[in-house]
Symmetry: C2
Subunit: 171 residues, 2 copies
């Protein structure tokens, strides 16, 4: 089964992200707005229960909740036409990402970690220019907190279902 680890922002931030995703993100219906904390990985259910969840509990227990800000959009262009709400980088979010690639957790990383909330993807080059041109003018002033992360699995239709929640700083 395919698993992933994500942080869901507060409702306030999710609503802002969805106002753009609705128009520009074909994954709008597959998962709520999120910060991908670990790229999707394959695992057996047995291993999830016996090894991975215990380690995720440990990581959560040893990580304090932290704040982040969102002030503007950015893009992965020219690699992809993805546009995202940029999460202001912090040591805390990079540390959490690092921890999620240790121990029994798959360590392969296809990309350097860029904390973000996708709001547009799979746009044609022309659409991208138009949309990015207008979104890049926007200024946000969103303050939010990461106090949990979630382990999800992917259904056959591509949608993601939450399997378990891990609260930061809790046993």
């Amino acid at each position: 089964m395919k698993y992933g680890i994500a942080v869901f922002p507060s409702k306030k931030v999710q609503d802002v992200a969805n106002s753009y995703r609705k128009r520009y993100d074909p994954h709008y219906a597959l998962i709520p707005p999120h910060i991908t904390m670990k790229e999707a990985f394959e695992a057996e259910e047995d291993q999830i229960e016996s090894e991975i969840i215990p380690q995720l509990r440990e990581i959560a227990k040893n990580t304090e909740p932290f704040s982040y800000g969102v002030y503007k959009v950015s893009s992965f262009s020219p690699v992809t036409n993805t546009i995202y709400l940029k999460i202001e980088p912090s040591d805390e979010i990079f540390d959490l990402n690092d921890k999620l690639y240790t121990g029994v957790l798959p360590e392969e990383k296809d990309f350097a970690f860029v904390p973000h909330i996708t709001i547009a993807q799979k746009l044609s080059d022309e659409e991208f220019s138009d949309v990015y041109g207008s979104l890049t003018m926007l200024k946000f002033d969103l303050q939010d907190q990461v106090d949990r992360f979630q382990l999800l699995y992917q259904l056959e239709n591509g949608a993601w279902s939450v399997y378990e929640t891990f609260r930061l700083g809790r046993g």
Copy 2:
């Protein structure tokens, strides 16, 4: 904010439900297939953290995981044109439902609890006759387990985001 409590079936059962929901359920994109364990209710975030989550932890701790079977579809017709995978009733699932209407949890119940996974809704009467006529012929033999429930909140677009997971039989 609007909250709800649901059980998400295993991937196997979710995939079966989605194969019908895709065609017949306009809520397909708003939430994965689920068993609603408590009708949506309004609450303040403060109250969720200070009162409701602690009680949900207690309920989860004092409820053992239990099995259920899905063998056929049924419908709420003529009240609504909703068609669902019928969860074979068990004392355990009714007990859990009862507990979720006690203490600080809102006690209003608009409907008698009928454990189910919706696969079609908001059909016209004509569509309903056609679809129900064919789905009602289906036989399933799905065995699944409830070992957790989830507290969700609703976003402005109508989609539901998981706030926390509660494992049955755990402190």
